[in-house]
């Protein structure tokens, strides 16, 4: 299988651990990944104002790049990129006038966009095309005895129209976790917002959210948390510093991307995991379980 890949800005620096572990895992699964040429920022958030067409230009331009690569499918890893690209695509697919206006901005592009690219998240690809049972067959190091809380955040599941799982109780990450041999832990905060971009100038909100989300997971017995969004990862991992300052009884818990768990189970080398980018070191618990 071959798939076109849109990384987005953060996957190339702060979330390099997400990208490297995903690419290594996909290689182990015999998927050929081709990074989109000349991709640009997706805008990170989908414009909610009805008349704000200009902010849909950036995501749609990326979909033109997909067409230029002679394909009509693109995979994302970042939940925010996924949401923005997919929602912008849905907007132009269902509203001809918007599509026409946006195409007018693209007068220097060779391809006239027609709403015919399919935006996919890696999790969808794993579930629907590679299929979890085939992932299971490639597991060389089962994540035995590891208790994982799976945190979805907002952008993979909402709004319902673009989500690929149940809006209130998604289970795709739990299912993947089980396939990798770990024990998924259910907890009530798995789709609760982490505070998102409030992290820039209102760290206290994020520290509060991280405290409630993570202590809830810990109360249910979680040893690590699995995430799928670089902003959630930053807020839940790096903001544990502020969380601890505000709540001295708080106990740190490692935050990993679901692709890092997959990379370990599929036998990727440790340099694909990039644990140097984490605030809370995941190595002690993984060593204790004999996984690294």
């Amino acid at each position: 299988m071959k798939i076109s890949y849109y990384p987005g800005c953060t996957l190339k620096n702060n979330a390099k651990n997400f990208e490297d572990s995903a690419l290594c895992s996909l290689k182990q699964l015999d998927v050929e990944v081709e990074e989109l040429h000349r991709w640009n920022c997706c805008g990170t958030v989908f414009s909610l104002a009805t008349d704000d067409l200009i902010h849909h230009v950036a995501p749609i331009r990326n979909l033109i790049r997909v067409k230029e690569s002679n394909t009509d499918r693109v995979m994302t890893l970042c939940a925010m990129c996924y949401n923005t690209l997919k929602r912008a695509n849905e907007r132009v697919k269902t509203d001809e006038e918007s599509l026409d206006k946006i195409n007018q901005f693209m007068y220097r592009e060779d391809v006239k966009y027609q709403g015919d690219v399919k935006v996919l998240h890696l999790l969808e690809l794993l579930r629907d095309e590679i299929e979890f049972e085939n992932v299971a067959k490639k597991v060389v190091k089962p994540l035995k005895d590891l208790k994982v809380a799976n945190y979805y955040g907002c952008m993979l599941v909402r709004p319902k129209e673009i989500g690929f799982d149940d809006v209130e109780n998604p289970t795709i990450l739990e299912n993947l976790t089980s396939v990798l041999g770990a024990t998924p832990i259910d907890f009530p905060y798995k789709t609760e917002c982490c505070g998102a971009y409030q992290t820039v100038d209102n760290t206290e909100i994020v520290a509060d959210r991280a405290y409630h989300i993570l202590t809830s997971a810990q109360d249910q017995g979680a040893e690590v948390v699995s995430v799928s969004c670089p902003l959630c990862a930053f807020n839940l991992d790096h903001r544990q510093k502020e969380t601890l300052q505000k709540y001295p009884e708080f106990k740190n818990i490692p935050i990993l991307y679901f692709t890092q768990f997959m990379a370990i189970a599929l036998g990727c080398p440790e340099d694909a995991l990039r644990f140097d980018l984490h605030f809370v070191d995941p190595k002690p618990i993984l060593k204790e379980k004999g996984l690294i």
Binding site: N14, M80, R158, P159, T199, P230
Partner: protein, 135 residues
């Protein structure tokens, strides 16, 4: 708190503007409160999401545009997913932010952030914050 209702406020172009920018029919709301019940940000809000809709119906422009709530909402879309009347509350709140941002009244003051604050956060945080909180 004393609240004055008036025909003048209700007919203020502000109400139509909010409906136009959000694409929502404000009068569809019957105040069940489900949006506020599920909102993860209510503890920091001064006007709750269901109250925002009521205030917008009644043309309470000043109260809404001065509220903390419109900058606390992070568009997590939980309210939208749960509204039994299909109102997109997050879009209404976006419309209120847009009314201020389109007058160059930025919420995020980048120049007041220290170098460390700016460089510690990943690009995804900085770009999204600027997209939501600056003009």
């Amino acid at each position: 708190m004393r609240i004055n209702l008036s025909r003048r406020k209700i007919r203020d172009p502000f109400v139509a503007k909010v409906q136009e920018l959000s694409g929502q029919n404000l009068l569809a709301c019957y105040q069940c409160g489900k949006c506020s019940a599920g909102c993860p940000a209510v503890s920091q809000m001064d006007i709750l999401p269901n109250q925002i809709i009521r205030y917008a119906q009644l043309g309470f422009k000043d109260e809404l545009l001065k509220s903390k709530s419109i900058w606390i909402c992070a568009s997590c879309m939980t309210c939208n997913a749960r509204c039994p009347k299909g109102i997109n509350i997050a879009e209404v709140i976006e419309a209120l932010r847009q009314i201020l941002l389109r007058k160059r009244e930025d919420h995020l003051k980048i120049e007041k952030l220290s170098d460390a604050e700016r460089s510690d956060v990943p690009p995804i945080a900085m770009v999204s914050s600027m997209r939501k909180f600056t003009s």
